[in-house]
Amino acid sequence: MHELSIALGIVKIAEDEAAKAKAERVTKIELEIGVLSGIELDSLNFIWESAIKDTVLEFAEKEIVIIKGKGKCIDCDTEFEIEKLFDPCPYCNSYFKGILQGKELRVKALEVI
């Protein structure tokens, strides 16, 4: 389950940034996760408690902003919402598309004291 690696990556970012800001702990963390990022939110939430235990994030509120998938058809230029990587263009049915958004996996902000 790679969500554990991801959670530990988040913890590391938070620890480093908190140390840089000479903060004691993080009160809130804002994450941006795209629906095409490859992360299962249920799995991330499931391992979250164990990943943040004894870290600066232990008492932080977690806010996840989910970013919708958006693509552009390479054949006809139509922009459309993508829920799954294999969604075809709704206009011409082509599977050739560029992904415009939905792959995000970011720590957007930390609130620290």
Binding site: H2, S5, A109
Partner: protein
């Protein structure tokens, strides 16, 4: 704690070993090799600032509260280290392939056959990723090919820093082909770039036609799809054209090879591709 490999304590991090070598302590693996500081080069974009008093506050908080708007990519660390691998491969003219599949699709068998058939023409090096055992590395070592085993323990995929350490330890020569067999897992390895030139997903004929849309990320991020175990087609209720149809829905650019790693059927097409690409990447 290392956020890169996901190991929380001293003894469940990755272990890198050569067949025939004695045990290792955790100390000489990747943790000793890099300082965690080097992971944090931002691209000039990332900044931490205090909220200034002229900002319009939408929420109340006490005076020593600060908001750090860091906008940091969670995979950035692995991506930076993948870029370092890519630079290393380029400088030494190493053609690197990342082989991914579910457990048991035939990655090691495919490698064994390929190495045996081409080792006279191409210098090969192999990195084997498994959670446990040196079994796969021993199978490769039996062919007299230099190989390193990475045991990821609880980790379900390889990451760039493990590959970097393994490559150093392998002492890969210039102008060679590096085969990296990832941990058998059709989900997790897809998110972790290792700095490879091409990613190859292997699916066997016993896995069901709709695998590509059940696990789309792996097919989306791969360049080549090898359909293995075609010798079993008479016994399984599966249509190879349907596997391809589903895979192309996820990734219309995929190139296919249909092979049997045990009988050798179809291997020539894959060998031609490998030799051609190796030449194309030569600088």
């Amino acid at each position: 704690m290392c956020g890169t490999c996901g190991c929380g304590t001293e003894n469940n991090g990755p272990i890198i070993s050569k067949p025939g070598e004695k045990n290792h302590s955790h100390g000489d693996q990747h943790h000793g090799e890099h300082s965690h500081d080097e992971h944090h080069h931002h691209n000039g974009h990332s900044h931490s600032h205090e909220e200034h008093h002229n900002h319009s506050h939408t929420h109340e908080h006490d005076h020593n509260h600060k908001v750090l708007e860091i906008e940091q990519d969670i995979l950035q660390n692995n991506q930076l280290l993948a870029a370092r691998n890519r630079g290393y491969f380029e400088a030494k003219n190493i053609f690197a392939l990342n082989l991914v599949s579910s457990p048991g699709s035939g990655k090691t068998t495919l490698l064994e056959r390929t190495l045996a058939d081409l080792k006279a023409e191409i210098p090969f090096y192999v990195i084997e990723g498994d959670q446990q055992t040196l079994n796969d590395a021993n199978r490769i070592a039996a062919l007299d090919i230099p190989v390193i085993q990475i045991n990821t323990g609880k980790g379900c995929h390889l990451e760039s820093d493990m590959v970097y350490d393994a490559v150093k330890k392998l002492n890969v020569k210039d102008n060679s082909v590096l085969m990296i067999e990832n941990v058998g897992n059709l989900v997790c390895p897809s998110m972790f770039d290792l700095g490879e030139n091409k990613r190859i997903v292997i699916i066997s004929t016993t896995e069901g036609e709709d695998k590509p849309i059940k696990y789309p990320d792996m097919f989306y991020t791969s360049d080549i799809c090898i359909i293995n175990k075609i010798d079993l087609l008479p016994y399984v209720n599966i249509n190879v054209e349907n596997i391809k149809k589903y895979a192309l829905q996820v990734n219309p650019k995929l190139v296919f090879f249909e092979v049997s790693a045990t009988t050798g059927e179809g291997m020539d097409g894959w060998y031609q591709w490998l030799k051609k690409l190796k030449l194309e990447y030569k600088n």
